[in-house]
């Protein structure tokens, strides 16, 4: 399978909704260490809103689905990650506006715009102990695969590994954004909750593709 149809995308969003829900407590616990502990709740809320929106989406423009879906997510939860996720889908969707099927290059474009949207919104860049650290390498990897003309399954596997490495790399660096930043040195040993969520997102996407 080389391209995702709009139904594939909707199915992925449904699966992502389930995954976010099942990771709720884990994320709450993680965010409680140096945040306000709401991450699990926000993620469950935004992905429920996204899935909900998708199921009622009539049009066949995948870009429009993801973009407007992002708007729906924004309404669902105010906290940082809610806004950032929403931004990612809005920008990612914009990037593939008009496409009725997503191949490797569209997928690469989607993730690229997704992570850049977050960097832009969060005034952040890789290496600052945020979700970026998981998403940026994944987007880069998809881009490289697209350039090298690799098949979707291959590209996906690489992207997942990249995201996991990125997530792990947040251990050992001091937080520079959000509440965790207040803890300075103390924040060093903790794995960034946002990056963890980023890896879950990419991972779920990739698993979905490979299971197709």
């Amino acid at each position: 399978m080389e391209t995702l149809s709009i139904d594939n995308v909707k199915d992925f969003l449904t699966k992502m909704n389930e995954v976010a829900a099942s990771n709720k407590d884990y994320l709450i616990e993680l965010d409680s260490k140096m945040g306000d502990g709401d991450l699990g709740l926000t993620m469950a809320a935004v992905f429920a809103a996204l899935d909900d929106f998708a199921s009622s989406y009539e049009d066949e423009d995948i870009g429009g689905l993801l973009m407007k879906g992002g708007m729906a997510m924004a309404k669902a939860a105010p906290s940082t990650m809610g806004t950032l996720m929403a931004t990612g889908f809005m920008r990612g969707g914009k990037a593939v506006k008009g496409s009725t099927g997503l191949g490797v290059s569209e997928i690469a474009a989607f993730w690229k715009a997704f992570v850049e949207g977050i960097m832009d919104r969060g005034k952040s860049k890789p290496g600052e102990k945020t979700i970026i650290d998981a998403l940026y390498p994944a987007a880069e990897s998809f881009e490289a695969s697209a350039a090298a003309g690799e098949a979707l399954p291959v590209a996906s596997a690489k992207a997942k590994t990249a995201a996991e490495h990125g997530r792990d790399s947040t251990v050992g660096i001091v937080a520079q954004h959000g509440r965790a930043a207040y803890y300075q040195e103390k924040s060093k040993e903790i794995q960034d909750p946002g990056a963890t969520m980023g890896a879950i997102l990419v991972g779920t996407f990739v698993d979905f593709i490979t299971e197709l």
């Binding site: 105010p78 940082t80 806004t83 929403a86 931004t87 919104r121």
Partner: protein, 334 residues
């Protein structure tokens, strides 16, 4: 925690309900969302000015919505940003075809959400420009002004931009004037005691007995000088000198001064401090156009104060002097 409240989690909503019960003649909700408030009567063709931010800082932010100042405000939980969605709802409500200017403080969450709201507004063809106020000289060194926190000085931005919009000036013009205020205002604060976020129930930071912290932020962000409480005159000297060299404010300059109480500090002490401020400014040949003293940007029951200086030119003076009338701030023509 000794506060007049019912359930901590209802604190913000009940506060807003109280404000609305008292001032429904001036304020209204935007589609029944308690956290979205705007003036009861908008004005066609006028640039709308929206602000927003966390609760616990009254009169900030909601308190400056009114005649001659702001048109709308989204209200977050205590020390938390409102959602982009709420900002967007306020934006739609107050847009009168002339566009909307966002004026808010330089805090990550607020920036993120206002940017997001602006993007949403853009998708619905509402013209939005933004002004981010950050004038706390203690929060970042010179050269890194863009990292500075927005504190009490934002009052001047609201007051002047509000008067400018009231003159039916264009969105670009109102933004230009607001930016000019940001460029010419500086603030420095000092804290004597912490405050308690109702839902947390205990102070989220400490100031030891007999100690003060100069430069501490209104959410307890670390300051620049921690130590034993000094005589008021010395405290004022430290604060004011840091402000004066930063812009800098030079001999011959004319300024407006804002003596702001953080909450528990009584007006008596603000005036004891102002006495020294006036003395120093006089010695430096800086003249004072007007003095505001009271609670303009607070942290609930936190004890402490901040001093803000705005360097004036004829344009800023003209707009600062205009009357304004909100449930929390009234000024006759100066």
């Amino acid at each position: 925690m000794k506060k007049f409240l019912n359930k901590p989690e209802k604190f913000v909503d009940e506060m807003i309900e109280g404000i609305m019960a008292a001032h429904s003649d001036k304020l209204k909700y935007v589609n029944d969302d308690l956290r979205c408030v705007c003036t009861a009567t908008g004005r066609e063709g006028k640039v709308g000015i929206a602000t927003g931010g966390g609760s616990g800082h009254l009169p900030l932010f909601l308190g400056y919505v009114g005649d001659g100042m702001l048109d709308g405000c989204s209200v977050g939980g205590v020390f938390q940003s409102p959602s982009a969605e709420q900002m967007f709802e306020v934006t739609k409500e107050i847009d009168r075809g002339a566009g909307v200017l966002y004026i808010y403080g330089n805090y990550g969450g607020d920036i993120m959400n206002f940017d997001m709201a602006a993007e949403m507004a853009d998708m619905e063809d509402i013209k939005v420009l933004q002004v981010v106020a950050g004038e706390d000289v203690a929060s970042s060194k010179k050269g890194e002004e863009h990292k500075r926190r927005g504190v009490a000085g934002i009052f001047f931005v609201y007051k002047i931009a509000g008067a400018c919009a009231d003159d039916l000036k264009s969105l670009e013009e109102v933004k230009r004037v607001a930016d000019k205020v940001c460029a010419n205002v500086r603030t420095m604060g000092v804290a004597l005691s912490p405050c308690i976020v109702p839902e947390v129930g205990k102070p989220s930071f400490q100031i030891e007995d007999g100690e003060m912290e100069i430069g501490m932020g209104i959410h307890g962000e670390p300051g620049i000088e921690k130590g034993p409480l000094k005589p008021a005159d010395e405290v004022v000297e430290t604060m004011l000198n840091a402000i004066l060299v930063d812009l800098p404010y030079e001999r011959g300059a004319e300024v407006a001064v804002l003596m702001n109480g953080l909450g528990a500090t009584p007006k008596e002490e603000l005036y004891v401090m102002y006495r020294k401020v006036a003395e120093i400014l006089k010695a430096k040949g800086i003249s004072v156009f007007h003095v505001y003293a009271g609670e303009f940007a607070t942290s609930m029951e936190m004890a402490g104060a901040s001093i803000s200086l705005l360097k004036l030119d004829d344009e800023l003076k003209k707009y600062l002097s205009r009357p304004a009338y909100t449930p929390f701030f009234e000024q006759v023509q100066l």
